[in-house]
C-alpha cells in the first residue's frame, strides 16, 4: 500500500517507552494547534489540541506542550504501544482562517515490540 511516511523523519522506540515528537510551527499569529495521527491508507485522526493561551494539555496517554517563545510544539506519548505506529503531524490554525490548517512535515513513529 501507499506509504504516508516515505522520506519523513523517523522516531523508533521500544514498546512501553515514552515517545516525544517535536514540531516547529511557522506563524506567530497561529492561536490553535492540533496533533494528528495518520496510519497508512487512512486520513489524519485527531489526537489532541491546544490553544495559544495554554502551555500544556493532557489527554489519555498523550500530552501536548506549547512554547510560543520559540514556536515549538511537542507531543508526548506515554507507554508507547505498537498501535501507536503511524505518521504524526502537527497543524496550526489562526482564528482568521477557519479551515486553513497548516500541517507540518510529519514524523514517522515506529514502535518495536
Amino acid at each position: 500500500g501507499e506509504s504516508v511516511g516515505l522520506h519523513l523523519p523517523t522516531l523508533s522506540v521500544q514498546e512501553g517507552d515514552n515517545s516525544i515528537i517535536n514540531c516547529a510551527y511557522s506563524n506567530s499569529a497561529s492561536d490553535y494547534f492540533i496533533w494528528y495521527k495518520q496510519e497508512s491508507g487512512k486520513g489524519p485522526q485527531f489526537i489532541i489540541d491546544i490553544r495559544s493561551n495554554m502551555d500544556k494539555r493532557q489527554g489519555q496517554r498523550v500530552t501536548v506542550l506549547l512554547n510560543k517563545t520559540v514556536k515549538h510544539l511537542s507531543l508526548q506519548i506515554a507507554a508507547t504501544q505498537p498501535g501507536d505506529s503511524a505518521v504524526y503531524f502537527c497543524a496550526e490554525n489562526n482564528r482568521g482562517s477557519q479551515g486553513n490548517l497548516i500541517f507540518g512535515k510529519g514524523t514517522k513513529l515506529s514502535v518495536k515490540p
Binding site: 522520506h7 491508507g41 486520513g43 485527531f46 490553544r51 490554525n93 479551515g99 486553513n100 500541517f103 507540518g104
Partner: protein
C-alpha cells in the same frame, strides 16, 4: 456509516482527462474542507465551505481545480485537464462549525489520484 466518506477510493486518470472526486460529510456538519496530500508530505489546504458557501479557495493550485457543495451537504472536487503533478491523495474533512477547541474536524480516507 458515521464517518466522512470519499469516493472513489482510487482513481487513475490519463493526462488531460477530467476527474470528479466526491465527499459525503458527516450528517449535520456545516463545515467542509478539501486538502491535497502529496506522497510523504503533510496535507495542504485547498478550499473550505460553510454550508453551500465557499468561504476560502485560496489553496486551489490553478483554475483547473474547482469545488462545489450546491446543497450544503455532498461536495465534489473537480480537476480539469489533469497533469502528472496533480497525482496525490485528496482528503475531505467535515466539522460541526469550523476548526477550534469546541469542534473537531473529521477526515475521510481520501481519494488517491494517479495521473499517467
Amino acid at each position: 456509516g458515521a464517518g466522512v466518506s470519499q469516493s472513489p477510493r482510487y482513481k487513475v486518470a490519463k493526462r488531460g482527462q477530467d476527474v470528479a472526486l466526491r465527499c459525503d460529510p458527516i450528517s449535520g456538519h456545516v463545515s467542509l474542507f478539501w486538502y491535497q496530500q502529496a506522497l510523504g508530505q503533510g496535507p495542504e489546504f485547498l478550499t473550505y465551505f460553510q454550508n453551500e458557501a465557499q468561504l476560502d479557495k485560496s489553496g486551489l493550485p490553478s483554475d483547473r481545480f474547482f469545488a462545489e457543495r450546491p446543497e450544503g451537504s455532498v461536495s465534489t472536487l473537480k480537476i480539469q485537464r489533469t497533469q502528472q503533478e496533480d497525482s496525490a491523495v485528496y482528503l475531505c474533512a467535515s466539522s460541526l462549525d469550523g476548526i477550534n477547541m469546541n469542534t473537531e474536524a473529521f477526515f475521510g480516507q481520501g481519494t488517491r489520484l494517479t495521473v499517467v
